[in-house]
Structures are given as C-alpha cells and as structure tokens.
C-alpha cells in the first residue's frame, strides 16, 4: 500500500469537510473517523510488514527518484512511531467527537494535524520537513485556541515561538542547500560526511537548523510557551500535542541529527538532560494538572533527546539504539496521551458533581498503568530502555549525568505518583489530618463504601455510556503489548519473570468477580508458587523463599476476612508475593532488578490501599525508587568496563537495601506506611516483604558482588570483606543496625496508635537483623536468618491479631480499648505468645534470637553494640506490655461489650503461627540446623550443635531443656494453685476493686493506658527528636523552594518567552562553539 494514499485521504477528507457538514454532522464525523482509521490501518499494515522482515519502504513522489523529487522512507522506527501516533490520533479523534464539542473547523484542523504528523515522520526532504512542521504547527495553533479565552493567550505565545523557530529553520535550510546542493536529508548527510559543512557557514547553518528543531521540542528554559499551551489547550489537544506531535517532531529531529558535529550533539544531549531535570523539578510544585503533565511531557521529551544523543555517541547499532529511544518515546507517547485524556474525563465528571472519574477499578488501573509506565518501572518498555541507558552511562563513567538523571526521575515520580494517588483515592482529596497520635484518628477499617461498593457491572455500564472511556483503555493495552515486546527483546520474557504481571493482568481482567474469589486465587497461586519453588532452590534461597511465598500465602489467607471487593489489594499483594518468588529465582542482573522493582513498587501500591495511606505511600514510593536507582547503578555496572571500587558498590547496595528495610535515616517512610496500610496488608509488609532487603543484602554479598570482582571462592571474598575498608564499613553497618533498634524501640514506647507501635517495633527488629548481618560471619548470618524467620512469625501473629482487634473495636488507639481478653481469648493468646517471643523471654524462640545476637556480637568483638542491643531489648518490654495491657487487660469499655472473637480467617493463620513458634521453641534444631548448613556453604562454621545444645565459643544454649525446665517450674505452682483454691472462687464484676473504698466512675477513668510511660517520656523524650524526618522534610523543602525559584522565569509574558528563546539560542551557540 502506498502510504501517499493516506495523505490524499486525509487531505481530501479535510477539504471536503465543509461539504460533508452540509450533508449532516453525522456523515461528516463518520468520514472523519474513517480517514483516521484508515491512517491507523495503513501505518499498522506497514509496521507489520516491516516486522515480518520486509525491507525499508522507499516512496517517491511525482515519478522521479530522490533527490529530484521528495521521497519518504519508512524504516521500523518510523513505522512504529507512525502507527503509534496514528493510534493516538484515532482515539483522540473519537475523544474529540464524543467528549468535546467538535465543529467542522475542528475536524478539518485535526485531519491536517494528522497529515502533518504523518509527513514529519515519513519525509526525507529537509524543506518538505519544514512544510509538514508548519502544517502540524498551524493545525495545533488553531486547535489550541478553541479552549477559551486563556487558551487564546497560550496559543499566541505558542505562535510567536513557532514563528521564530520556523524562521531559523528556513535560514538554516537554505544555507545548507547552498552548501550541499541538495535538500535531501540523506544527500546532506553524505555531504556532511565529506566535510562540506565543516566551515563556519556550514556549522552555523547546521546549528540554526538544530536549534530550530530543538525549540519545537520545548527545551528548558525556552519552553514557557509550551507549558502554557499544555495547560490551556483542551485535554484532547494536549494529549496529541504531547504524544503524537512531539514524537513526530522528535523523529524528524533524529533524521537531521547525522548532520550535527560531535560537540553540537553533546550540547544538545546535555540540554535534553537539563530539560528533563528542570522540567521535573518545577513540575513538583505544580497544582494544575494539565500544566503538570506539560512539565512531565517536556521532561520526557528532554530525556528522549538525551537518550538519543547518548546512544549516538556510544555508537550503538540501530536496533540497540531504538530499543532505548523507542522504548522511552513510545511509552511516553501512549502514557501521556492517556493521562491527558483522563484529565479531560475527570474534569467532566467534576463538573457533574460526581466523586471523580477515577475512583473505579478499571479507570484507576488504566491511570496506574500510565503513571507507572511513565516512571520507567517494570514491565513497561521505558523500564528496559532506562536500564540500557543507565548501562551506557555507567560504562562511560558518567556519574554526574547519572545523578542528574536519577534526581530528575525522582522528581517526576514525586509529582506523577502524587497525582495518581490523589486521583485514585477519594479521601485524601480533603487533606484529612493524618497526624500521629491524633485523637481524631478513629478509623473504621472496612473500605469506604462510597468508592468501593460500586458493583463492577454498574461501573462497566457507566463507562460504556461514554464510549471514549473505553477507548482510553487502548493506549494501556498498547503499553501492555509493547511491554511484552520489550521484555522479549531484553530476554526476560520467561514464566518466572513475567508471572507477577500475568497474575496482575489476570486479576484485572477478572475484576468483575467477587473479592473473595480474588482472595482465594491469590492464596492458592502463592501457595502453589511456594510448592513449586521448594525443590528448585536450596540454602538461603529456599529458606527465604518459604518465608516469602508460604508466609505470603498465609498472610493473604488472613486477608479473606474482609468480604468487600478490595480492588487493588489482591492484585498488588499477589503481584508482590510472586515477585518475591521471582526475586529468589532470578539469576541475571536484569531479572533481579526487575523483580526487585516490582516488589518494592508493589509494596507501595499495597500500602496505598489503606484509607489514609496516600501520604505515606508517596514517601514510600520515593524511597523505593531512590533505592532502586542505587541498585540499578550497581547491577548495570556488572560486566561493563567500568568497575566501581568495591567500597562504593557496597555502599550503594547497602543504601538500596536499607531503604527497603527501613534502617535509621532511611526509615521515614516505614511508620506511616505500616500504620496506614490496610491492617492485614501491614502484616504482609512487615512480616514478609521487609525481609527482602535482608535476603538481597546476603545474596549480593555472596553471589553478586564477588561475581563483579571475580572472587570465586568464598574464602577470597571473605578476606576482602574482612579487610580494610570492608571491616570498617561493616562496623558502620552494625552501628546503623543497633541505633535503628534502639531509637525505634524508644519511639515505639510512646505511641498511642497500636499500628504505629508495631510499625516502630518492626523497624527496631529489622535493626537487630541488620546488626547481626553486619558481622559477616557464620554466627552473625545464622543469627540474621534466624531473627528474620522469628520476626516473620511473631510479627505476623501480632499484626493479624491486631487486625482482628481493630476490625472489632474500630479504633487503633490503644487507650480506647481494654479488657478484650474476655471476648477475644484466642487473639489474646496469640498476642501473649508473640510478645513473649518478641521480648526474647525464654523459653520461646525469641530468646534464641537474643542469645544468638548477643553471643555473636560479643564473639565478634563488638561489646558496645551488644550492650546497646540489650538495652533496647529491655526497653522493648515497655511497649510490649503496654500493648497487651492496654488492649486486653484493664477495664473493658462499654463500647466493646457486644463484640466477638476475630473472624475465622484471621484466627486460623494465628493458630498455625502459634504452632510453628512453639515447635521451633521446643526444638530449635529443626530450624537452626538448616540455617547453619546454608550459611556454612559460604563461610566457615563458627557455631555447632552438641546434641541439642548449641555451642558457641563463649556460651551455650539448650532450647529444649529450657522449655522442659520452664514447663516444670510453671506446672508446680499451677497445680498447687488448682488444688489449693478449688472451684469456689467466682469472678467479680469489673469495678470490684480495692479503690480507696470507692467505686470507680467509668472504665475510661480507671483504665490506666493513655500516655502510659509518662515518666519515661519526661526522662528520655528528648531522644524522640525526629531528626530523620526533619532532614528529609528539609531536603524536600529545599527542593521545592528551588523549584519555586526556577518557576519564576515563566512570567507568562509571551514576549519574555520569545526573549528566552533568543537568549537560549545564543547560549547554546556559545556552548556549541558556533562563534569560534
């Protein structure tokens, strides 16, 4: 099919639109849509042909060969972007026809825009490029202006900028023609190759041409006009401007880039990077949604420009180059188009007084796909592209560039994710104060009925009513398809790596089924995965694999206690649990990183399901991504020429994993996330997912880092770790661990909110694990794994028990509970066992952990750390007692008189966990022997069993005998008591106490629970100073201040913007050495 026909069709339809309009609006719209559909069909057909191995399509006009006439060439890259743009144009057309009042002129301009985009992508003639640039520009000028008065202002500024750009383009083009004698781009490139353009005029002409195209691509700071346009243009137009038009211009830009010299290319790449950085920096302070997308768009295009010149500079072959650039570009194209449309759809809904369009499953999922893909997270093409880009930068040793890139990405993540959160969650829109310890924090934990009880059928029906809403699903589908393609090309399109996404997709498709179905599905799939993984792993992998998958399955089972649909929860939980499995099985750096990212982002998304979790989830996302960047840097340096120094790698890796585990300083996201996530989700997060960081640190130490440095034998790398800088670093790590344990424990003591108590407790427990890990010997690591398993057991027990309590009493504040032992005895027993274990009181397994960690530390020569760890474990008693007392003992409140034991779904896992903890308490060998064997594969054994006694160099512990003795001494007084007292005692009434001969007035006044450790606060409260939070808040404040300062350059005055453009041109000329 000759692609020129589509030009004729587009133009013919546009030209005849007035006549069609005379016939009627419906036929006019029909032809309009038919032309766009044909555009998509033709471009798609060509793409399919090319994918099937057809050679690049050459098209000539007027029957003469290039350079005599204008020619088109369609390679794979052009075809891909063209058909993607055509798809977006098609949907955008439908959007305009259905959602925005379209007129004859709008349709005409729209078709002309489609024409311009097509020509920009296809043409190989420089002047023809100019014509198509103008075609698309003028169409855009016209379309922007239809948005109302303020859009007129934006449109005028856009025209000024476009006018300057086109004048520059013309001058550059004509001088290039004068020098090379041709207008054909390939001819010019050949001429440039032969040095014709090397002179001053040639350099200036190329520069002017380059800058004019660059201006069209909206570089910082010469892009104020573009931002105004994004903000004020109607959403449908903004979508096209940002996706199809920008991509087409970029493709055109790549066509002329062979003319650029090395220096100019470097400068342009730098501008791309700076645009990415500054656009995202300024985007953070943005309140207006469309302007924010505008910042993101300019940033993304900047990133694509940067990527383009980076791959060009690295001399990558075409396939590899487009793997990166195309991945970024196509993701941006679909995602940003989708986002702009959403913006328009939700605007409409707001007007109708609804709760907002996105508070439904399918729209939320789509918006999620768009945002997540934009943030370059797996499995989207941008993820793979960015990985490769980072690899290039790491190979080149460009650390500063990498830093800027990561910062920019982080900024973008900050505001885009915030947008997603705001749009998909109703309750954070009113900015409810989610203060710690706030008395107002009475949280009913069932999902808000206003947003979640809509039955799926109703929802689909309401979406069908506005058929464009379903159209918006198409870019998402396209992104999913592209993800598969990119994963395939990256070589990770295998069952294990793709399982989490497949599961998520399946659940999304099945979202019309009831929530419990999803729950059962998740439980069964994760249990099956555990079953499957057991024989396929060994050693440390198997141990953690079981914690992840079996533990995850157990936690998911508990989640069944809620009958509502819980959209999101099951999807993300299953996805995260499966990604943990994939993590354990992953072998290549890419697989590891992919699974890691899915896991950490999945955890954030799980958190997000909580009613008030918006703020914490945002923070969590930033830490997840930030940690991911460190990890990416290290993983991408594997196998490249650039080898970072071992110490640097170790620091990067440790920072990455500590931010996941929430070590002191990197913990600020943890308390809020754990506290505000759904109650059962918190159990999953704390007991299961938090162990991923520990596993990863171990695996990196024994498998991946030694691989980087070619240290094959365990002894060799052990030497490396125990010498010089590494032993210093591990000492530091130990201090981080112990301070985490201490400070988090102290803070936990003062929490009134039970979930905050447990969240801080989790942080402190992770601190112990980090401390043990930091010893880097057999004893320490055995301890770390043992502690991990223990923490899994008792923290799952605690969180699940608390889930039941909150479910019944509908508050999280401990002092509002009390006396619940009577209605909830099993839950009480769970909590009792759990806190005995957590406190490390013999005979339960927690003592084993204490014994191990102190012995290991003393043996490892770290007595001070041992002392602080013991000190903090003493303080842990304070919050543990407070927890069990305030909730289960003391005075029962009138509110809780009618409540029952927790639901079966919560009780059953608790009973299983109690059984497990009793088993490993009585027979520690069951669990310790495999752990010690697994660790001994890597390092010389330092401890061993003699019979059932565990012997270290300095001490011994026989868990079984401790259990026997304890049981014995417990039974003696118990039996004597039972015999002695007989059955004649009776339980007295609640207020029958020796209370100064008075009867207490109410349970509230008698239940000593609020501010339980007041003297402690008086003595040690100063340690509560939230240094970490202040630091991060300060950093964030600084960034936003800088952001505000930079935004002042955008005065809104069109003339100033023109001045920016000229000054920008001059500055670039200076850098590019044009004046030389």
């Amino acid at each position: 099919m000759n692609p020129l026909i589509i030009l004729a069709v587009l133009m013919g339809t546009a030209f005849t639109m007035p006549l069609l309009e005379k016939v009627g609006v419906k036929p006019a719209r029909l032809f309009f849509m038919a032309a766009l559909a044909l555009l998509f069909v033709i471009s798609g057909g060509i793409l399919v042909n090319l994918l099937n191995g057809a050679p690049d399509l050459e098209v000539v006009t007027a029957g003469f060969q290039a350079p005599f006439s204008i020619n088109f060439r369609i390679g794979l890259a052009e075809a891909a972007v063209w058909s993607a743009a055509a798809l977006v144009l098609l949907i955008g057309g439908s959007y305009m026809v259905h959602r925005e009042e379209d007129g004859m002129y709008d349709r005409m301009l729209y078709l002309i825009l489609a024409l311009g985009v097509t020509g920009l992508i296809l043409t190989r003639d420089l002047f023809n490029l100019f014509v198509f640039l103008e075609i698309s520009s003028i169409a855009v000028y016209g379309l922007i202006g239809r948005g109302g008065e303020r859009s007129l202002q934006a449109g005028f500024k856009y025209m000024i900028a476009g006018g300057i750009s086109s004048i520059l383009f013309l001058i550059g083009t004509v001088f290039l023609y004068r020098l090379t004698g041709t207008l054909n781009i390939d001819g010019m490139a050949a001429a440039a190759g032969s040095g014709i353009l090397a002179g001053t005029v040639g350099a200036s002409a190329v520069f002017i041409l380059a800058i004019s195209m660059l201006i069209e691509l909206k570089p910082f700071p010469a892009n104020g006009w573009a931002l105004d346009a994004y903000q004020e243009a109607p959403s449908g137009i903004g979508a096209l401007l940002s996706s199809a038009q920008a991509s087409a211009v970029f493709i055109a830009f790549t066509k002329i880039s062979p003319l650029f010299g090395d220096r100019l290319a470097a400068v342009l790449g730098g501008i791309g990077l700076l645009t990415f950085f500054f656009a995202n920096l300024m985007g953070m302070r943005q309140k207006d949604e469309k302007r924010m997308f505008g910042y993101s768009s300019t940033g993304q295009i900047g990133l694509v420009i940067f990527a383009w010149f980076t791959v060009q500079g690295a001399g990558l072959p075409d396939t590899a180059a487009w793997f990166i650039v195309g991945g970024l570009l196509l993701t941006h194209l679909f995602a940003k188009a989708g986002l702009f449309w959403f913006s328009g759809l939700s605007d409409k809904d707001k007007g109708e007084g609804g709760k907002g369009f996105l508070h439904k499953v399918l729209p939320s999922a789509l918006a999620g796909i768009f945002v997540i893909s934009l943030l370059a997270l797996p499995p989207f093409p941008s993820f793979f592209a960015k990985m490769e880009l980072v690899k290039l930068l790491v190979t080149g040793g460009s650390w500063w560039i990498l830093t800027v890139l990561f910062l920019g990405s982080l900024f973008e993540a900050a505001y885009m994710f915030a947008w997603l959160v705001k749009k998909t969650k109703a309750e954070c829109a009113d900015g409810g104060a989610d203060t710690i310890n706030g008395d107002s924090l009475v949280v009913g934990n069932r999902a808000g009925p206003d947003i979640l009880t809509d039955s799926p059928a109703v929802e689909v029906a309401s979406m069908l009513k506005s058929s464009t809403s379903l159209w918006v699903a198409i870019p998402a589908l396209a992104l999913v398809g592209l993800s598969a393609a990119w994963a395939y090309m990256a070589g990770v399109f295998n069952v294990i790596a793709m399982a989490p996404f497949a599961a998520a997709l399946l659940m999304l498709i099945l979202s019309f089924l009831p929530g419990r179905f999803h729950g059962f599905l998740a439980v069964i799939v994760s249990a099956a995965a555990a079953w499957w993984i057991w024989p396929r792993t060994e050693g440390i992998d198997r141990i953690f694999g079981m914690v992840f998958l079996a533990g995850g399955s157990l936690n998911l089972f508990a989640g069944l206690y809620r009958k509502d649909r819980r959209p999101g929860f099951w999807v993300f939980s299953l996805m995260t649990v499966l990604s943990l499995g994939a993590l354990v099985l992953a072998r290549t750096p890419l697989e590891i990183f992919m699974a890691w990212e899915v896991m950490s982002v999945g955890a954030v998304l799980i958190t997000l399901q909580g009613k008030r979790a918006a703020g914490p989830a945002r923070t969590g996302m930033l830490f997840a991504l930030g940690g991911g960047y460190f990890l990416m840097t290290v993983l991408m340096s594997i196998g490249t020429a650039t080898i970072l120094s071992p110490a640097v790698v170790a620091i990067l890796v440790v920072i990455a994993f500590l931010s996941k585990s929430g070590a002191l300083g990197l913990h600020v996201w943890v308390p809020g996330s754990y506290a505000e996530a759904d109650d059962d989700a918190t159990s999953l997060l704390s007991s299961v997912i938090s162990k991923a960081g520990i596993w990863a640190m171990m695996i990196f130490s024994i498998r991946i880092l030694p691989g980087i440095y070619g240290l094959d034998g365990p002894e060799l790398w052990l030497q490396a770790f125990n010498s010089g800088s590494f032993s210093f670093l591990s000492g530091i790590l130990g201090w981080i661990g112990v301070l985490t344990a201490l400070v988090a424990t102290i803070i936990a003591v003062f929490q009134e909110d039970i979930k905050y108590t447990l969240a801080w407790s989790s942080i402190s427990q992770l601190g112990y694990i980090i401390l043990a890990f930091s010893l880097f010997d057999h004893f320490g690591w055995t301890t770390a794994i043992y502690l991990s398993i223990n923490h899994f057991l008792f923290k799952a027990m605690l969180f699940l028990a608390i889930t039941g309590v909150i479910y019944r009493v509908k508050t999280r504040l401990m002092y509002k509970m009390g006396g619940l032992i009577a209605p909830m005895p099993i839950t009480f027993i769970t909590v009792l066992i759990a806190i005995i274990a957590l406190a490390g009181v013999p005979p339960l397994s927690g003592f084993g952990g204490k014994w191990l960690v102190y012995s290991a530390l003393i043996q490892g020569g770290r007595p001070i750390q041992a002392a602080l760890a013991m000190f903090s474990s003493g303080i842990a008693f304070l919050y543990l007692f407070r927890l069990i007392h305030s909730i289960f003992l003391g005075q029962r409140k009138d509110d809780s008189l009618g409540i029952k034991e927790a639901p079966f779904w919560l009780i059953l896992p608790q009973i299983l966990l109690i059984a497990s903890i009793m088993l490993i308490s009585a027979f520690p060998t069951v669990i310790l022997k495999p752990i010690m064997a697994a660790v001994a594969e890597w390092m010389p054994a330092a401890i061993g069993f003699e019979g059932s006694t565990l012997m270290s160099a300095i001490g011994y512990w026989n868990g079984s005998w401790v259990m026997y003795v304890t049981m014995g001494v417990f039974m003696i007084p118990l039996v004597s008591l039972l015999i002695g007292t007989g059955r004649k005692t009776r339980k007295v009434k609640q207020f029958n106490i020796v209370f100064a001969a008075e009867r207490p007035h109410r349970p509230e006044t008698t239940h000593y629970a609020h501010n339980f450790f007041a003297p402690y606060r008086k003595a040690l409260g100063s340690l509560m100073n939230p240094v970490g939070r202040k630091f991060w808040e300060g950093s964030a404040g600084g960034v936003t201040a800088v952001s505000s300062a930079f935004r002042r350059i955008y005065t809104g005055n069109g003339q100033t913007y023109a001045l920016h453009i000229v000054l920008f041109t001059i500055a670039v000329a200076l850098f590019a050495g044009v004046f030389a």
């Binding site: 006396g819 009181v841 013999p842 300095i954 001490g955 001494v969 118990l974 003595a1019």
Partner: protein, 327 residues
C-alpha cells in the same frame, strides 16, 4: 545423674534457698527497724505471713490471667534460680545450669515479671499498671549498667558460662571480679539497688501512693505465692551476683574450705558442699546488707529521676569497666 536425681537435687537446693530467702527477708526487716529506732518484727515473721496467706482461701478473682500471674511469677523465680549454678563443683547445687548460660538467666528474670504484670493488669485496678509502668521504666534503665558490667565479665573471661566465670575467680580474693574489675562491680551493684526496689528506687511499689503497686488486688494464696517467689527470687539474684562478682562459692575451694582442710586431712564431699553453702550465705548476706544500708539512708527517687540517674553515672562507670576489661 539421672533425671530423677536432678529433680531431687533441684528440689533440695530450692528448698534450702527459699528458706534462706525467708530468713534473709525477716532479718533485714528487723535490721531496718533497728536503724529506724523500732524493735521490728521477729526474724521468722515471713513464715507467719506466708502460712497465714496460704491458709486462707481466695474467694474472688478477676479472670484467668489474674490467676496465672502469680504462677508465672513463681515459675520465673524458680526458673531463674534453677538456671544458676549455686555452688561450684557441687552437682547437687549445679541445678539446670547446663540449659543455658548467663544470657538465659538474664532473660529468664523477665519471665516472671511479665506474667506478674499481666496478671495484675487483668485486675483492672489502675494502681497495678501504674506500678508496672514505673517498674518497667526503671528496669529498662538499670539494665544498662548491669549489661555493661556483665559484658565486661564476658570479655574478661571470654565466656558467658556462669560456671566458667566462677571457676575463673577461684584461688583467692585477688581473682574476684571485685578486685580485677572494680568499676564493673560498682556499676552492677548500683543496678542491684534498682533491682531490689528498696529506697531510693522504691517508687515502683511505693506503699504510700499506690498500695504496693502491681499486686494491689492480690490476696490470700495468690499473695502467698508472690511472697514465696520474693524469697527465692531474691536468693537467686544474690547468688547470681556473688557468682559473678564475688568469687561465688565452691565445694572445693574458699576460705572456709581451706580452714577445714587445714584441720582435717581430707574434707568430705558433704562438708565441702555445706561449707560452700555457708560461704554463699555469708557472702549474699553481706551483699544484701549493702542494699539495706543504702535503702535506709536515702529518700525515694521519682521514676524519671531514677531513669536519668541510672543512665548517667552508673552507665559511665559501666562503660569504664568495659574498657578496663578490654585492656
């Protein structure tokens, strides 16, 4: 030794030390009274109390945990004692110390306290949790100097085994920890003052403010159980301290043993053990005397004051002791 033999031995050593605990409590109360210019109770008063309490049957309770509290408490006291080897080189008094080392003992102390606190909590009486709150807060503070001195010991002897630590101190007073590392011992003794809950650290049970604190609601047999525990637990702590810091007591060594060895040709085993017990009694008596001495001389700290106190001077001393041990 067979299991049955072990059980019998344990029962014997528990019996001896419970009685010692009663007598110690009685005599200290009398001494205290004399200091304050009263006549005081008879030395055997604890026996009277406990018999009386156990003779009365409790008629009311506040729930299951209320019942189990004293059981936990007594089990904690017994267990703590049973994990400590009371007399060196005497299988009869070695108890069940093979189950674990010093760390086990330190953590088993919490077993009883936790159970007691829970039982008291179920009573619903506000004074109970107030007392527990104070007790826990104070405990977490005095733990630090104690931990530091224990670590100093562990480093010095490169062992956490109590038997090994006692063994290392044999052969004369110069080997005692109190001589080899006086700083650690001072820190530990100050911590001991806190543990004993006498003045100035008696705010936990502060009889005038929150009638005896946690056990407010307990009476009759349950209270008797608590009293029994108090004696055995006191004895256990004292034995532990003497073991760790004052050379312990040995069935084959010590001043008394040497004396009798110089009189007799060969000291029979039973005499050696007896002398060991006597040595232990003397040492613990003297040690306990310190707390009484301090207790009658100082007024009471508030909780926050005692927390700050423990975390400052004694902790610094403990640190110094630790450094001393590492030298």
């Amino acid at each position: 030794m067979t299991i049955l033999g072990q059980l019998g031995a344990a029962a014997l050593s528990v019996f001896i030390f419970i009685n010692y605990g009663f007598l110690l409590a009685g005599s200290m109360a009398r001494i205290r009274a004399r200091v304050q210019g009263r006549i005081g109770q008879p030395v055997y008063q604890p026996y009277i109390d406990i018999l009386k309490n156990n003779a009365r049957r409790t008629a009311v309770h506040h729930g299951v945990m209320f019942f189990l509290g004293p059981v936990f408490r007594l089990a904690g006291g017994l267990g703590t004692f049973l994990f400590i080897p009371a007399i060196l080189n005497s299988p009869l008094f070695a108890n069940f110390s093979f189950s674990g080392d010093l760390l086990l003992v330190m953590y088993f102390i919490f077993f009883g306290q936790l159970g007691m606190a829970l039982g008291a909590g179920q009573s619903g009486h506000p004074y109970s949790p107030i007392g527990v709150s104070r007790g826990l807060a104070q405990m977490s503070a005095f733990e630090l100097p104690f931990i530091l001195s224990v670590l100093a010991l562990a480093i010095k002897h490169n062992s956490l085994s109590i038997t090994a630590i006692v063994q290392a101190q044999q052969g004369g007073i110069a080997n005692w920890t109190v001589i080899t590392n006086p700083l650690a011992v001072i820190a530990a003794i100050i911590a001991f003052l806190g543990m004993s809950m006498h003045n100035p650290f008696s705010v936990v049970i502060a009889p005038q403010e929150i009638p005896i604190g946690p056990p407010t609601e307990y009476q009759s047999g349950l209270l008797g159980m608590l009293q029994t525990n108090r004696s055995i637990f006191n004895a256990a702590k004292l034995v532990l301290y003497v073991n760790l810091f004052f050379g312990g007591a040995s069935a084959t060594d010590g001043v008394l043993y040497t004396l009798s060895a110089s009189v007799l040709h060969s000291v029979p085993v039973w005499l050696g053990v007896t002398l060991g017990v006597v040595t232990m009694v003397i040492k613990t008596f003297l040690l306990y005397f310190i707390t009484v001495f301090v207790g009658v001389s100082f007024p009471r700290f508030r909780t926050d004051q005692s927390i700050r106190f423990f975390l400052f001077v004694p902790t610094l001393i403990g640190l110094a002791g630790l450094i001393l041990a590492r030298l």
